[in-house]
């Protein structure tokens, strides 16, 4: 294709070639020319040639008008024939391939794959935002941990109202995600799988709690089946945080956790 375009560039008038041929040649070395580029060069070469001839016709001269028009007619005919031949040859050459006439739009970036729980024994169907981290007590430096006990796990669900501020009397409550509180935790008690239930499979309980100024925890709301909420509540009430601060002021923070119970793994050897 590059050779064809170089040949097509030869159709430019001599004045144009003398001025631009070398750098045009360098440009062809830099790009990956396509059939579209060939057509582009052919079209422009023809336009420049025609313009040049017409300009020449407009120059006062002693030659007859017919003499002036003849080169234009012959040149146009000859070039039309050459273009046809070149296009036929080029099409025959590239027909089996898609014609790169225009740059195809880049495909949209592939969406990030959903995070997967690393240990399918525990939460086979759970998708959590931090599950690529190792289960159990993470190595020092891990910012987020997934706590797993005997058939019980604690997740930090995403909060739609992160950063919201509520006023209860004079007290200011800020909604923070559970992950943000992880660096403040002093004591965490994991719930026990409640005995004597007929539940089968996974049960989720959501607990909303308030971290007081002294770091103790007060349960605000729970949702889920009674035996599971009470065991989750009694465990989370024993959590202790370091006193929290926001802009160098002590503050009280609301957060929520999801406690997942799974009968399949209760009393098994899956605790980590």
């Amino acid at each position: 294709m590059r050779t064809l375009i170089r040949w097509a560039a030869g159709l430019y008038p001599a004045r144009w070639r003398n001025r631009y041929a070398a750098e045009f040649d360098a440009l062809l070395d830099d790009i990956s020319p396509s059939l579209g580029d060939l057509c582009n060069v052919l079209g422009h070469a023809m336009r420049v040639r025609a313009t040049t001839h017409i300009d020449a016709c407009l120059v006062p001269t002693l030659a007859s008008p017919m003499t002036l028009r003849m080169p234009l007619v012959v040149s146009m005919s000859a070039h039309a024939l050459m273009i046809t031949l070149v296009l036929c040859a080029a099409l025959g050459y590239v027909t089996p391939m898609p014609l790169p006439l225009a740059a195809a739009p880049l495909p949209p970036p592939a969406p990030d794959p959903p995070p997967q729980v690393t240990d399918v024994r525990v939460f086979p169907n759970a998708l959590t935002s931090y599950s690529s981290l190792p289960l159990g007590e993470g190595a020092p430096g891990d910012s987020v941990r997934l706590y797993v006990a005997d058939g019980v796990g604690i997740n930090f669900p995403s909060l739609p109202d992160i950063g919201a501020v509520f006023w209860r009397g004079d007290a200011e409550w800020r909604v923070w995600p559970g992950q943000a509180l992880e660096s403040f935790i002093v004591r965490r008690v994991l719930p026990k799988y409640p005995r004597g239930t007929n539940a089968r499979g996974a049960v989720s309980v959501f607990v909303e709690y308030l971290v007081m100024r002294d770091g103790s925890v007060r349960i605000l709301r729970t949702s889920g089946p009674a035996p599971f909420t009470s065991t989750a509540r009694s465990a989370i009430e024993q959590w202790v945080y370091r006193p929290l601060e926001y802009e160098n002021r002590p503050c009280q923070v609301v957060s929520r956790v999801e406690v997942r119970f799974d009968s399949e793994f209760a009393n098994s050897d899956t605790s980590l």
């Binding site: 830099d30 790009i31 580029d37 060069v41 052919l42 422009h44 070469a45 336009r47 420049v48």
Partner: protein, 95 residues
């Protein structure tokens, strides 16, 4: 915004460039790939009008530089384009 001369002037407003650099720059900032014929057709016209000039170079790749007249012409064209954009946006909002 398909006029190659304005695109080339806008590219050279950022500094001297040779043909391939102009082509790549326009592809980046305007998303338009000029064909080699279009590029050199426009360069030829711009040079004839005195809006750009070739810079001395030992390389085969001839760099070009925008002239003061070219810069002035670019400013005028961009101002006109800005006026069109503002008017169009206002009318679209009111429609």
């Amino acid at each position: 915004m398909q006029d190659p001369t304005i695109l080339i002037l806008a590219s050279l407003a950022d500094g001297d460039k040779h043909g391939y650099a102009i082509m790549e720059d326009i592809l980046v900032f305007a998303g338009i790939r000029l064909g080699p014929g279009t590029l050199y057709g426009a360069i030829c016209r711009l040079e004839e009008r005195g809006w750009i000039r070739a810079v001395k170079s030992e390389s085969r790749r001839q760099p070009y530089r925008i002239t003061a007249e070219g810069s002035q012409h670019l400013k005028e064209q961009l101002a006109l384009l800005g006026q069109v954009v503002r008017t169009g946006n206002r009318r679209v909002r009111e429609a």
